[in-house]
Symmetry: C2
Subunit: 194 residues, 2 copies
Amino acid sequence: MARRVDHEQRRREIATAVWRIAAERGLDSVSMREVAAEAGVSLRLVQYYFETKHNLLVLSLRYLHERGEQRAQARIAAQVDQSVRGVVRTLLTELLPLDAERELSLRVHRAYFSRTHSDPALAKVFLHTETPIEDLLTSLLRRAALPPGVQPRQEANLLVAGFTGLGLDILHGRFTPPEVLATLDYHLARLFQA
Amino acid sequence: MARRVDHEQRRREIATAVWRIAAERGLDSVSMREVAAEAGVSLRLVQYYFETKHNLLVLSLRYLHERGEQRAQARIAAQVDQSVRGVVRTLLTELLPLDAERELSLRVHRAYFSRTHSDPALAKVFLHTETPIEDLLTSLLRRAALPPGVQPRQEANLLVAGFTGLGLDILHGRFTPPEVLATLDYHLARLFQA
DNA sequence: GTGTATCGGATACAGTCGTACCACAACAGC
DNA sequence: GCTGTTGTGGTACGACTGTATCCGATACAC
């Protein structure tokens, strides 16, 4: 045993076990023992690589965030239609659980959501006082030729908050993906009407 | 001791203790013992009136929902400006933490939010497959003279999801109440422009 | 006046949790 | 070949949890 091991790699593997448990059974079911079992390692190993449970939760969330940002950037870079409208649409659909990966991500975020407010360290990863997505969307909208009277900042604020919520609504079964996409395209049409 | 007591009344008092703990320290801190201490009664009493913790959580959430609906209806009935636009504005501001009571309500809902998905009984109180608020808002919008091309259902879907989210954003300090109200009035102006 | 259903306090029990501790195997550098 | 560091397992500890039990005390019905 005990040949040299990549700690970072090990931690990421264990973090995926955290994600699976959190997504399926909620953050309350994420105990050190459960994580160890899900990852197929001993309790001691989870302790060894994360020291404390708090660290386990914070790092697991951070890894998820990193992956999400990379995914979003890749998807925007990969799309052929580089019009402002196309990029805006991609940006907003990134908030919706339209494939397995985004659904997992959304479920984990939902699981973390409440705990975020009793735990400042989690809040730091989860919520920023800054509004980077809204800012990005605002600057995109400024770049387009929009109807008179349209205020990009106000549109961005509602769109980001709204489609974040509608993504969760899909998870809850209150709406279906086609319904939310219809709502998205309706509002894009409203904004980008010439 | 032990003179006849109104059980319903007693339960509502204890439920407010649940709200306070959930709002301030999260649902994880809501233990039978903590609730008893916060309510100023013995552990046995909490057991006596709620039987089980699950019952305590479900009933406490139900009471909060009841109070929220009554508050919303009262506020709509009480307002002098009964124009469609005025009612719509009141309906949406009801989702924002603009006073102590609505802030408490929002904080408790946030605390319950995650647990909702691992617990079907909580989900039944918390989330409905139906969309009553969206339906109400849609029918209100249909009643008004809106610009051509505006689809009340699509507008309602985004507005409800959006301002629910922006209400939470206020709690998180990402936006201030004046900012969100400005966003609200902007979108009302956009919808109700003659 | 007395019995009895209702109300309520104290405490015990079994389980789970995060963490700490101890022992040892495998490799690194000397 | 030896020594010290690194990786891994097993397990024990103390705290906390929800629930159950035992028992005292009150207030109303008769």
